[in-house]
């Protein structure tokens, strides 16, 4: 049986798709057969981040409607043969997804995958609800600012009451916090919420802090999950996240402002 992970946030633009791509790649690189599904029907992005947009023939909605088999729609990643992508449809909307349809696809995937990563759309509407409904684990992606924290809190409430596990009175969905776009220097100057401020409100198990990094944008543009950029801080931070999720103990990195005196003086950015 596969473990189903939902990457969710409520708010848009916080890094859900970047995170989905990175952790799916991280799990697959460690030899776990992993599928990553784009639930953002109508605003498909995951295929771009994964660099497989030109190989999309069939999509998630085709599979749900029985117009294509799962094997026809799944795209094998070019960097890792343990990773498969199920892209969203760009020409449909969220109503094309049904609870039973999603359940069927996840069940079929569960038979020969170890991890299924569900990349949730923003918002709390149908797409986000279907992405989290079958989840075993939830990665709550949050930026260190008040509106993002508030939206994550709302999402946690929905996970606790509307997920399949909640409805069937099973063990609750395991919730993890992923703090992204963290800028230690701005935290220090008080412009950004710190880890403690966020945890004060959310009190979740912290899976990692991803520092704000230029490498994220360039990796997205290149269509390569940032976790493969081993030199970048963001890539290393995602590597830590995957390791912690799999039970390894790793110290927190990239939370201190380590810019040198001169760089601070001249406003250089790492």
């Amino acid at each position: 049986m596969a473990r189903i992970i939902v990457v969710t946030s409520g708010k848009g633009g916080v890094g859900k798709t970047t995170t989905s791509a990175a952790i799916a790649m991280g799990l697959a690189k460690r030899g776990h057969k992993t599928a990553v599904i784009d639930f953002d029907v109508g605003l498909r992005n995951l295929d771009l981040i994964m660099g497989c947009e030109r190989r999309v023939v069939y999509d998630f909605v085709n599979v749900i409607n029985g117009e294509a088999s799962l094997n026809q729609a799944l795209i094998r990643d070019k960097n890792c043969n343990q990773l498969y992508i199920l892209p969203a449809s760009q020409t449909r909307d969220k109503d094309a997804l049904t609870l039973e349809g999603v359940g069927r696809v996840l069940e079929e995937l569960s038979r020969d995958f170890q991890y299924i990563v569900c990349d949730s759309p923003a918002g709390i509407e149908k797409g986000a609800y279907l992405a989290l409904y079958y989840a075993d684990d939830a990665f709550v992606v949050t930026n260190p600012e008040v509106s993002s924290v508030r939206d994550s809190d709302r999402m946690l409430g929905i996970l606790a009451s509307k997920s399949r596990r909640a409805e069937q009175n099973e063990d609750p969905v395991k919730e993890y916090l992923l703090l992204t776009r963290y800028d230690p220097s701005r935290v220090k100057s008080g412009e950004m919420l710190g880890l403690d401020d966020v945890q004060d409100i959310l009190s979740l198990q912290l899976l990692g802090i991803i520092p704000e990094s230029k490498s994220v944008l360039s990796a997205s543009n290149a269509g390569i999950p940032v976790i493969l950029d081993e030199k970048s801080e963001a890539g290393q931070a995602y590597e830590d996240v995957v390791a912690r999720y799999l039970g390894e103990d790793r110290p927190l990195r990239f939370i201190d402002d380590k810019r040198g005196f001169f760089r601070k003086l001249f406003g250089g950015r790492s």
């Binding site: 508030r150 939206d151 809190d153 606790a160």
Partner: protein, 264 residues
């Protein structure tokens, strides 16, 4: 009295009504005796609501038809509004006449049953996930009393215990007291007909005594609430002074004013 947007409102209320205790099943004698009393104080009994009490009669093993009694009472200008202490047959007759039946507990008047009626739903507590936008500060539950429910004694309100965090957008409604062991996030709403205890940080809205219990209180270890209310009287975070913010406090009502006091 209603707000401009709503057509009606349910409220529990208490009223007094004379009870007619029968010791004899001689209808003619009863009528004669009643007429005498009415003649002595015509205004007092004119159009008076009346509860027919058959307990003593049944204890003595005397039978009487509720239909006949009710007919007679209506004829002389009274309104039978309830029957108590009747046997099965008499309760059925009362039902036929649409007269509520009180199962009859000792030392209790039928007036208390209007509260029982509002507790008719068997699920004593409701936890619902809903948008926090519906700000009903009073009477969020709408429950109607029916004839049947009047015969039920009020269930004692149980307290409700919540151990999970109450997240933004979640709503919790307790018919009795509400005890929350975890934090209540901003954008969450907790409501109780009784007291509210939060043994953690309270950042959302907390409304105690929502059915009008002015003696209800709110207790919390760390007050950062968006809004606190007791029996409809409320304060928003704007009006919470610095001295009591982020401290353990209790909130209660005194002469329609919310008093917030630090718990030493």
């Amino acid at each position: 009295m209603t707000t401009s947007s709503s057509v009606l409102e349910f409220k529990s209320s208490t009223f007094f009504s004379p009870t007619l205790i029968l010791y004899s099943n001689d209808l003619a004698a009863i009528e004669q005796s009643l007429q005498d009393k009415i003649n002595r104080a015509p205004d007092f009994f004119k159009n008076s609501p009346l509860i027919i009490d058959l307990r003593d009669l049944n204890k003595s093993g005397l039978d009487i038809s509720v239909i006949e009694v009710a007919d007679m009472l209506r004829k002389i200008g009274m309104f039978p509004i309830g029957v108590r202490g009747g046997n099965e047959q008499q309760d059925k007759q009362a039902h036929k006449l649409s007269i509520p039946v009180d199962a009859g507990r000792e030392n209790d008047s039928i007036t208390a049953t209007s509260a029982a009626a509002s507790r008719k739903e068997s699920g004593a507590q409701a936890l619902e996930q809903d948008s926090a936008e519906n700000n009903e500060f009073k009477n969020p539950s709408s429950s109607a009393g029916s004839i049947e429910s009047i015969s039920k004694p009020p269930e004692p309100a149980r307290s409700m215990l919540v151990t999970q965090p109450v997240r933004s957008g979640q709503r919790i409604y307790a018919r009795g007291d509400l005890i929350v062991m975890s934090q209540v996030s901003a954008g969450a709403e907790i409501m109780a007909e009784g007291n509210i205890h939060v043994y953690n940080t309270l950042r959302g809205r907390a409304l105690a005594g929502v059915q009008g219990n002015t003696a209800a209180r709110i207790f919390c270890l760390d007050l950062q609430a968006e809004l606190i209310s007791i029996s409809g009287d409320y304060k928003t975070s704007e009006h919470l002074t610095e001295q009591i913010q982020k401290r353990p406090v209790q909130v209660y009502l005194q002469d329609h004013a919310l008093i917030i006091k630090e718990i030493a």
